[in-house]
């Protein structure tokens, strides 16, 4: 599948076009997805950079390598009514939902202009119907409740989980509750095969793909890193949850290319090489004619956001 900006479009046209919305909602699918993925990638690389310069405090969990999941799943939602619950690794999901680059950077920099006024930081975000929290699995039953609260309006809730979260009891209580009460929740499992520093083989028994089926929950599974394919599958899953008022389990095999938080990657070089080989960005560049222009646009959005956040007052209560 290929798609691109019209060959004769100039950089200035693109800038005007995309600059109006960081999410590029008006762009053709592949270009839009590429722009959103690059926005996430460049933003998170910048965060790691700011940390290494000592300009950020606390911690952050980047999703470098997993951008296709965020973009594929979130674009399958109706941003006006659907609800997203994310976890500690939430920047990608958040940007794909909101496009609020400045609000996120300011939040992580502890500024009053952050989306939560500097109270939440990297893993406690709230913007319209997007929420994240740093407790593994804890948001899962909350997601079920939000789906039930809004299901009469046709809304669906998405709960992003990881392979590491499969150890939390709250997840299984939530699967049962969602099925018993008919909650339109899409449980999205981003399996990057590692929980902080511990490989999946040491923490997860049995099959993650098959986990929800005994609860009477339909499963969708995908192994690849193509945002368009993820989008198609997510759209099917979201459509099913919405139409049937039922939960479903969307399993996505992915790779975390970066560290868990900042400098804590203990994986052997070979395993990291395998992860990098599945980087979703290079294949997208082959499908987007003038990706450099989009990269430049995304970089300028991030640059402006950092500048503007740095100039904003610190949150002090």
């Amino acid at each position: 599948m290929t798609s691109s900006i019209a060959p004769n479009s100039t950089f200035s046209q693109l800038e005007v076009h995309a600059g109006a919305t960081p999410l590029g909602l008006e762009l053709p699918t592949v270009v839009r997805f590429y722009q959103q993925m690059m926005l996430i990638r460049l933003l998170e690389e910048r965060l790691l950079d700011l940390f290494s310069q000592g300009l950020l405090f606390g911690t952050t969990h980047t999703s470098i390598g997993q951008e296709a999941n965020a973009v594929g799943v979130v674009n399958a939602l109706d941003r006006d009514r659907d609800i997203v619950w994310s976890n500690h690794r939430c920047h990608g999901h958040f940007i794909a939902y909101s496009g609020e680059v400045e609000g996120l950077i300011a939040e992580i920099m502890g500024r009053i202009t952050g989306v939560c006024g500097g109270r939440g930081g990297s893993q406690h975000l709230c913007f319209r119907n997007f929420h994240s929290n740093g407790i593994q699995g804890g948001t899962t039953p909350v997601a079920v409740g939000t789906a039930l609260a809004r299901k009469e309006e046709g809304a669906v809730a998405v709960a992003f989980l990881g392979d590491g979260t499969m150890g939390e009891g709250a997840v299984y209580e939530s699967l049962n509750l969602a099925s018993v009460f008919g909650a339109p929740v899409v449980f999205v499992i981003e399996d990057n095969e590692i929980a902080q520093t511990t490989p999946k083989a040491l923490t997860v028994s049995g099959s993650i793909v098959a986990r929800a089926e005994p609860f009477g929950i339909r499963t969708f599974a995908y192994d690849g890193n193509d945002p368009v394919e993820i989008f198609e599958l997510a759209r099917e899953a979201v459509g099913y949850a919405r139409a049937e008022s039922r939960p479903c389990w969307l399993y996505l095999r992915t790779e975390r290319i970066g560290p868990h938080s900042k400098g804590d990657d203990t994986r052997p070089a070979l395993r990291l090489e395998q992860a990098r080989a599945r980087d979703p960005i290079p294949p997208m560049r082959r499908r987007v004619a003038n990706f450099e222009a989009i990269d430049a646009f995304c970089r300028s959005v991030v640059d402006r956001a950092v500048e503007s956040a740095a100039a904003a007052p610190l949150a002090r209560g």
Binding site: G138, P141, V142, G145, T146, A149, S174, N176, L177
Partner: protein, 310 residues
Amino acid sequence: MRVVESINRALHDLMETNSRLVILGEDILDPYGGAFKVTKGLSSAYQDRVWTTPISEGGIVGMAAGLALKGRPVIVELMFGDFIALAADQIINHAAKFRWMYNDQVEVPVIIRAPMGGRRGYGPTHSQSLEKHFCGVPGLTVLATHEYADPGALLHRAFAARSPHLIIENKVMYARPVLGTAALPRPPDADIVIVTYGGCVEHAVAAAAKLAAEEEIATTVVAVEQLSPFPYEDVQRQVGNCTRVVAVEEGSPGWGFGSECARALIGRVKYFSALAGPDHPIPSSREWEDDVLPGVSAIQAACLDLFRKG
């Protein structure tokens, strides 16, 4: 009217006037109507909004927070307050945190009702008073109902606040008549003040009556309804100029109600002592349980001891 009916009536009233309100809990449907019958009649009257749940205390409190966050207030009944430990993460890290953490962009109107306390022979895991572990949690208000106030009104107050509330209800108290504030002993120029809450209030009142009749010691009982945030100024005002205070609670000793009373009254009273339950689990044996939970004679003895000190 008994305490159980007062709460039940308030639940009916709240369901009647709030069409989005949901009640969640285990075994709450008619004809059973909950382990302590507090929810009786509600599922018949409001079939669509009274949901019996799986045995998943953490899950249902989390689900309640989600419902509340998106416009559906919830009252959760925990079958036994002891089971609240299973919901601790949902209360502390989710329901109580959301509003502040999300910069006041959301509200979480959830009430958790928890039957606590012993004296019914239920043993170590069904007789506890675990509320102190949830006191001091920012964003959570902890209330304790008692029959010398209005249990139904307390529920209405909690609902009106539109924020996470934990209401401690004493199991023995459900069957007691509602007596109202006027029935609390408040003699002028009291020799001693007993500060207590929840299920211990009736024992404090009985001890005060005996102290008056047998020793001519004038004893006031201050029954605290809001445990957390602790109402320091209200307790100070109610203790007034009295120099002797006994704090009474049924939970385990230390880091609890007595400590907060002491904090409120330090430098203001001359003599202070605190009574609590045992520093081991609650025994099943009826006699043993009676011996270790602070009852009338223990409270009376503690007051006398304080009176004799000066």
